[in-house]
Symmetry: C2
Subunit: 419 residues, 2 copies
């Protein structure tokens, strides 16, 4: 235990030192490092596949579940995806040093804000080796040092990717400690990492709700949390019915396993009969299980009965809960009370309803006449994302480069003193 | 204990409900409430002074220290200050609902960000009754519900102010639970408050370093921390000497007890002889005790020897530590290693040095040719401040209305679905 603690502290100390060097690195040096990392990964595809095979074989031998093994497995295509991802990050504008709103005050000083790195970012994630490259790239571009702790099932894959990342850093003259992968699988390492506030500025956990809640519970360092997505589509009385159906279909069935997938459909009673009958045909044809409240079941008898628990459940599966509501207020109340403050959409032509929904639904993304599936860093134009924050402070919604930075005040004077 | 817990949970529940109502309140209603609170306080000046006298008498009887009694004591003038403060907050533009950067994406959706309240803000502070009015006003204007917990020494004063605040809320039709003052002096109340993440979105502690560290340690709710200010002025080799002297004098002696007061002076060796001799005369005439490193003492023998501890100490008193450095790099390293990341200034005419200092000093406010005393919400034009954050995430530096808000993404489409 003491050894693990010392090991993590040593990583922290090195990260803090490296972070200062990365913070003042030129854009060109960071972009070169990203391109060289990408090149190293592309060149070493065979080596990465071999390292990954060790992890996959072990996981299979241990009988780990199929979804985990699926996320764990690298392919030539997914490695190409990592390479592309790093190149895209290199092409993004550098957020660091940007000065906003510099203006004169009556005292004669100029005051503005400068965008700066956070410092040291700790990323804790599950057995998805591609996160190692993505997270390294995003943290570096935002001028931070990164400490990465991936799931122990992916340890060989992560070490192999880390070697490519280090090569890129070294060849571009940046400190290798700018990205460090924790190479012990001892779980105590996470406990030390999230408490090391002298060396770590923020922790970003990526993974299931359980992982994130555990980390938030233990952490002494601020955590950017991405909890679960219980997302809603509300089809209003004044909706264009065809658009409502199209959006509700897409929000549920385009992909079942993502956090921005709709889990509960709310329909206004005035149009419920037509909308639910049409949608039920669509959903049932695609094998979606429907769980309705009493009124919804009266319209679509094929629905099974929804329990109180259904309204707060993120299914991540072809299951949908359905409720008929009497009013916009009832819809907003349902979403604020049962939802997870992730992403919610209204379908309506009534601008007052749209405005109220936008203002009053307390979620990180709120949409009018669009599918919840759009809640995504790429779709929003952030270029990349490290996660979707359901927190209210700091970053909210998809977190890209900007969420990995901070702003400090700058003041310019000419000998000004306070009177 | 169980009763205190229930009491705090009840306050939390009411605050959550009220926060939804406040969040959707019109600007005019919030401003009216602020004006009515101000009017109630002005009208009840005698009553507030009487309530405050109870607190002050008790504090004197218990032999509490003079500085505390000074902060605790209300006067006609300080009550007028509260009234003015609330009116100023009413006059500030409403930050809520502001939409930034709405733009079309290639998919056809429009994406932007809307400024929204945080929800429920818990403010924990020491025996300064005026914070009760300030904090209530700022939280309300930013669309939040507030839970206020002031020092137990000020309990009668706080209750009296709270009554005026409630009157303003009631008369303007806003929920009275929009601002609740915790009326028990049981210390356990704070412990429950900072862990109640279902009802509280952020905690802002205002007070000494000890209070804030204790709260950050215990909290499960995110905390906007205002730790201490170990602020520096660095007089560069390329400084205008007169401006350097003027700034160093002002930064130390304009007020000794504020967090943006300079505690350590760094001087480049090339100009140290002239600068330190002139400044020493000034400081010693004002009764400032000087503590220098070896080289500084060689120039000014009246300095006593600075210990390692001096470099990290916030004196809040007429004491200054002084160090001679060989280079800009040495100055930046000293500040980043020993400072508290609050406010630091360089005096120089060299633009490259100024740019490097701005970029590389890792503090919430970084200044060129201006006194550290400018680090203040009013001086920065925020209109008011609830504190100065030394955190890197969310709000950094002086925290005004914007720091009490968040931004959510909004998406507008016309039946758009993801392909």
């Amino acid at each position: 235990m003491i050894e693990v603690k010392q090991y993590i502290q040593e990583i922290g100390r090195k990260a803090r030192d490296a972070s200062r060097e990365v913070a003042r690195s030129r854009t060109a040096a960071k972009d070169e490092a990203l391109q060289l990392m990408a090149a190293a990964i592309a060149r070493d595809t065979e080596g990465l596949l071999a390292a990954n095979a060790l992890d996959v074989t072990k996981a299979q031998k241990e009988g780990l579940d199929e979804a985990l093994i699926d996320r764990l497995t690298l392919t030539t295509k997914s490695i190409k995806g990592m390479v592309e991802g790093l190149r895209q990050i290199a092409d993004l504008p550098d957020p660091i040093g940007e000065i906003d709103g510099l203006h004169y005050r009556p005292s004669g000083i100029q005051v503005g804000r400068m965008r700066v790195p956070l410092g040291v970012v700790g990323i804790i994630y599950e057995a998805r080796p591609n996160v190692t490259a993505d997270a390294a790239g995003l943290c570096l571009k935002a001028g931070n040092a990164a400490i990465l702790r991936g799931g122990s099932e992916a340890i060989h894959s992560n070490k192999a990717i880390a070697a490519c990342v280090r090569e890129g850093l070294r060849l571009s003259g940046l400190p290798e400690a700018a990205v460090q992968v924790i190479e012990t699988t001892d779980r105590a390492a996470v406990g030390y990492l999230v408490k090391m506030s002298e060396f770590v500025d923020v922790i970003v956990p990526r993974g299931g709700k359980g992982l994130i809640e555990r980390i938030a519970q233990e952490a002494r360092v601020p955590v950017i949390k991405h909890l679960h997505g219980v997302c809603h589509v509300y089809i209003d009385a004044f909706a264009d019915i065809d658009k409502g159906i199209r959006i509700a279909d897409n929000a549920k069935t385009q992909r079942y396993g993502t956090c921005n997938t709709m889990e509960t459909l709310l329909v206004h009673e005035a149009i419920a009969n037509e909308v639910l009958k049409k949608l039920a045909t669509l959903y049932l044809a695609k094998g979606v299980e429907l769980r309705g409240d009493k009124r919804a079941r009266a319209v679509v008898p094929a629905m099974i009965e929804a329990t109180e628990e259904d309204w707060t459940t993120e299914y991540l599966a072809p299951i949908l809960s359905v409720r008929i509501v009497d009013s916009l207020d009832a819809a907003i109340d349902h979403i604020n009370n049962y939802g997870s403050h992730h992403t919610d959409a209204i379908v309506t032509r009534d601008i007052v309803h749209a405005q109220r929904f936008l203002a009053e639904v307390d979620s990180s993304s709120v949409m009018v006449n669009a599918s919840t599936r759009f809640a995504d860093g790429f779709e929003y134009g952030l270029g990349a994302e490290i996660g979707i924050s359901t927190d209210k402070i700091h970053a909210r919604g998809p977190v890209g480069l900007e969420g990995l930075t901070s702003q400090k005040y700058i003041v310019l004077g000419d000998g000004h003193i306070r009177g």
